[in-house]
Symmetry: C2
Subunit: 376 residues, 2 copies
Amino acid sequence: MTSPPQDSLHKTEFFRWQGPELELENARSLPEFTLAYQTYGQLNAAADNAILLCHALSGDAHVAGHHAEDQRLGWWDTMVGPGKAFDTSRYFVICSNVLGGCMGSTGPASPHPSDGRPYALRFPQVTIADMVRAQKHLVNALGIERLLAVSGGSMGGMQALAWARLFPDAVAGAIPIATAARHSAQSIAWNEIGRRAITGDPNWNGGDYYGEGVPQPEAGLAIARMVGHVTYLSEHSMEEKFGRRWQAEDGPAYTFEPEYAVESYLSYQADKFNQRFDANSYLYITRALDYFDFARWDGSDREAFACTQARFLFIAYSSDWLYPVRQNRELYEEARAAGVPAEFAEVDSSKGHDGFLIHTDDAAGPVSAFLRKLRS
Amino acid sequence: MTSPPQDSLHKTEFFRWQGPELELENARSLPEFTLAYQTYGQLNAAADNAILLCHALSGDAHVAGHHAEDQRLGWWDTMVGPGKAFDTSRYFVICSNVLGGCMGSTGPASPHPSDGRPYALRFPQVTIADMVRAQKHLVNALGIERLLAVSGGSMGGMQALAWARLFPDAVAGAIPIATAARHSAQSIAWNEIGRRAITGDPNWNGGDYYGEGVPQPEAGLAIARMVGHVTYLSEHSMEEKFGRRWQAEDGPAYTFEPEYAVESYLSYQADKFNQRFDANSYLYITRALDYFDFARWDGSDREAFACTQARFLFIAYSSDWLYPVRQNRELYEEARAAGVPAEFAEVDSSKGHDGFLIHTDDAAGPVSAFLRKLRS
């Protein structure tokens, strides 16, 4: 395997690690899998300063700094780096692209070992627990038996919950952020609309659209992204940012081209997403999100928490309507009811669900303090 | 023209009325137009007991009772009939399908007078004000100079606002329900996603999909309807009705067919909608909704109210997140600030925006009382 790299927030490439056969929750298996991952900071001699950060639906292993050929900063750059909440001068930070993803880890666009052609729909449905089990292999391969902490927002928070439940003795602290124990009917509905848009696009072609010059299901993935994007913003933040501003200076054209600035913005976001995301990965990962249920192994959230050995810090964002404060607070309350050491912080933010990526200042303090307590 | 029918909630057909050339807000005109309408109750000799009810995006003129060849009850049957809030033993109730619609009134599926082929995208963009101006012609043709009241929920509420502003001396009372003075950026976004889904469907074919055997943009309209449908429900009502119930008794199949009951439900609703609604009408009407701005003629809502001569009753539904209570209350407050006689009622309902169609019991009292005051 690739040896853990030296500390640098300027990476030249992702590391790739190939794991063994992986048994999956749905009674199938993957004969082999690769995880693309990135690390920041140094693993200490006792190997007890490692923190795993888990990304959300459209995220990847690039959590901080600049990478080669990627003009974007990492998705949590404000939280990860020397002196930041996840202080890379103290902690060894790992982030891997999820199983089922399309940013270097094995997913539906990866070659099937039997014929080298993309899995497409031959890819087995993976779950949040499968993603976490794959990460466990990687973490062990990096020489780490026990993580100081696992954290992430949104789907990353679900992974943190699954880690704490499935590998109790491998997690000292868990920081699930802007997440939920399970999807509500409404969250399932949004995801299903996105999936329907993709599978209803003739270019999706039953999932078989890989290859040079093959038309892509861009129209469908665009719709899916637009739906998702609106659920990540708050009504207030959209009003502030766009209101009813016309796209053209001279007002409406009375056509079905974008008339309002908010329409152009969504269209632009959808186009950008099409350039970097695989439609089949979108199908698989949204399914994993919908299937996730923290109580599935034990019957209730409380009993699930009773099976953990970690300390918890839950962080919710006030204007998040995808995973409202209420759903995060319920997690905290169930943890406490199970006798688990847990803290709860609500960050005041107008940015909706995306707040966890934007308004990180008010989360940094609680996270730093929580991590210091874990080491003491 | 067809003479006003006798009172009956068992109608055999819609009435159709053909109006003159209609100047439109966007500097175009319609050479002629037809409105499909229905009436209930009897117009009195003074012609001062007429109430116009305006339907929402997917509604039609069938507001109450049973009609021939339509198994459904009218969309506001609980509110319209003898002894009900809109008491057809006292009032003459009119409801017409909107201009741009597809339920008998002139819209994009109607024949263009020049060649008899469907307008399709040759249909001019109509606005809420245009819909209302067309209704005004119909109301006058029915022998009514002044309406006792105009009411409706959602887009119907916007029509009530436009009536009161554009024809001050023709409206004694206005009852806008579960509505807003204008769409927020978020509401525009939902509509735009629906439009993108339709226009991105290859079967939409630039709007030209009419005719026997021509494939319809059903996939696109289905997505649009699903998005709309979720915005009409509350998170709570979806949770109560579906929660995380599996569609199949034996649980998940790990495929991309509907897994959860809520997915099947949305799919079923989308299929039903495809059987009765024209995709181009969906484009035109959602645009009319987005363009609507009560302040557009006067610069502010307050000044718009100052131009009205009606009494107002605003009704909001507590769990409506498409047109939240706040937006309805703002209308009320601006009316009061303009010195207009206005009342406000908030109905406690868990049903989201759809509450105005379902939880009518608590709206009936305020409506009845308001109407009685108008006549006294």
